[in-house]
Amino acid sequence: MAHYNFNTPVAETAIRALRVNDTVTLNGTLYGIRDATQIHMFDRGRKTRFDLAGHAVIHTAPNVRKVERSEAHPAGYAPVCVGTTTSARMERFTRPLMSQYGVRMIIGKGGMLADSLAAFAELGGVYLAIVGGAAALETTWIEQIEDVDLDDLNPESLWRFRVKGFGPLLVAMDSHGASLYTGLKQAAAGRRAAALASLGVK
């Protein structure tokens, strides 16, 4: 269980070194992405001008305030509350994010499924778990909204954040086929019979 400090973007070798239960803290650029963003990118043929290669994306749609563009707010947005949404809805987008855009890290809550795990192994990626619902804390790790693309989808735009000390995040799915969620789900299912017996279910 090692801890890593990454400045993004990150090389494939660094990602391949990660194992489940390691922790990661990110500095630099972080992209925010959501259901509608990816539906438009992968089902409706839209492209982003951002270079996501080697980067992390977080499953988010932030609360923001529209402000005058300035050095502090180059995109005309100030962050209000930036948190994380449930990842599993976006399962089918992991592979194209990695194969078409070179994304290496997906940050979310609740975990992802078998196809994401396979994509992480084949293409070199990881899932980093953040504590869902801890957005006030998470917001203190966001320095700035640097840029925004596909903003007609607001709040499900593609956001470019600058982050400092973003973490620690838990490596919950790695590039070696390990997922904390798979094991825990099996263990929980294994306790089903005992739970039902305790309720007197025949």
Binding site: V64, V80, L196, S198
Partner: protein, 291 residues
């Protein structure tokens, strides 16, 4: 007692923002109690992060969670209250819109087919406004619940049959908790509706999920069921965020209603660990805010 609708509009705005920023004391105490009892190291760390987040939200006057949810307003009108109900609903809607624009808040509400977002947290039939009547005399209370989607997506209805008995209800609840895993942002309040019609059953589940911790089902049979289910689901080891541990649910809450001789309906609706709610009570003395 007359109710000033301008005050209702202000309260509807204030309630949305307060609910998003300040957790009720019963939920705070619930997380602290789970953290004390948790034996899994990862789970203890996660619960610690949740406790830290509550403090950061209060210190920075920020939202606890980014999910502003689907706004729900539960209105209870006392017996000696005179109010134009139609105008009351309009005032609540205006307050909800103003909270979204003026704070500002992320509008999480879209048209179900076009997915268009009006950026007001409102749309067809939203905010959800439930009107009921209370025994209280000169009091009108408005409870506001911003219902997050991670937990709302963990909703199920099963129209079981009488021959399947109470076992079908118990099995269904356990299986829903397993199916939900980390997606509902556990530890959760597992709301269970038993009986009624299909729509009433789901509504009961929502009422159960949003009841304060420590409250009991008024039906003794329901109270016994929620006690047994609370213990059973915490044997599953789903844990905070679905990453394992003892703290899967704060509690299972059950609400019951009579049902048809041919029916045995059960519904599950979950509430996440950020179990937000706020209340304003209007009396002749003025408006008082609480939970």
């Amino acid at each position: 007692m007359d109710v000033d609708l301008q005050q209702v509009e202000e309260a509807a705005k204030e309630l949305y923002i307060r609910a998003l920023k300040i957790l009720p004391p019963d939920i705070k105490a619930g997380i602290a109690a789970l953290a004390r009892g948790e034996t899994d190291a990862t789970a203890k760390t996660i619960l610690g992060t949740m406790i830290r987040n509550i403090a950061v939200a209060e210190d920075n006057a920020n939202l606890l969670c980014q999910d502003t949810g689907i706004p729900i307003y539960n209105v209870a009108i006392g017996r000696a209250v005179t109010v134009d109900g139609y105008a009351l609903k309009q005032a609540i809607r205006r307050g909800c819109e103003r909270a979204t624009r003026e704070h500002p808040l992320r509008s999480s509400v879209v048209h179900p087919l076009t997915r268009a977002n009006e950026h007001t947290s409102c749309g067809r039939g939203v905010p959800v406004i439930n009107i009921d009547f209370s025994e209280a005399s000169e009091a009108l209370s408005i409870e506001m619940i911003p219902k997050g989607s991670g937990s709302e997506n963990s909703s199920w209805l099963k129209m079981a049959i009488p021959a399947e008995g109470v076992d079908a209800i118990k099995t269904f609840v356990v299986d829903c908790v397993l199916e939900s895993g980390g997606k509902s942002c556990p530890p959760t309040v597992v709301g269970v509706g038993v009986g009624g019609t299909a729509d009433l059953c789901v509504h009961l589940a929502k009422q159960a999920a949003t009841r304060p911790l420590g409250s009991r089902c008024a039906d003794p049979e329901g109270a016994e069921l929620e006690r047994a289910l609370s213990s059973a689901v915490n044997q599953l080891g789903v844990g905070p965020q679905g990453l394992g541990g003892d703290s899967t649910a704060f509690a299972v809450h059950v609400e019951t209603a009579a049902t048809h001789i041919t029916m045995n309906p059960v519904a599950v609706n979950m509430q996440c660990h950020s179990a937000r709610r706020a209340r304003a009570t209007f009396t002749p003395a003025g408006v008082e805010y609480g939970f």
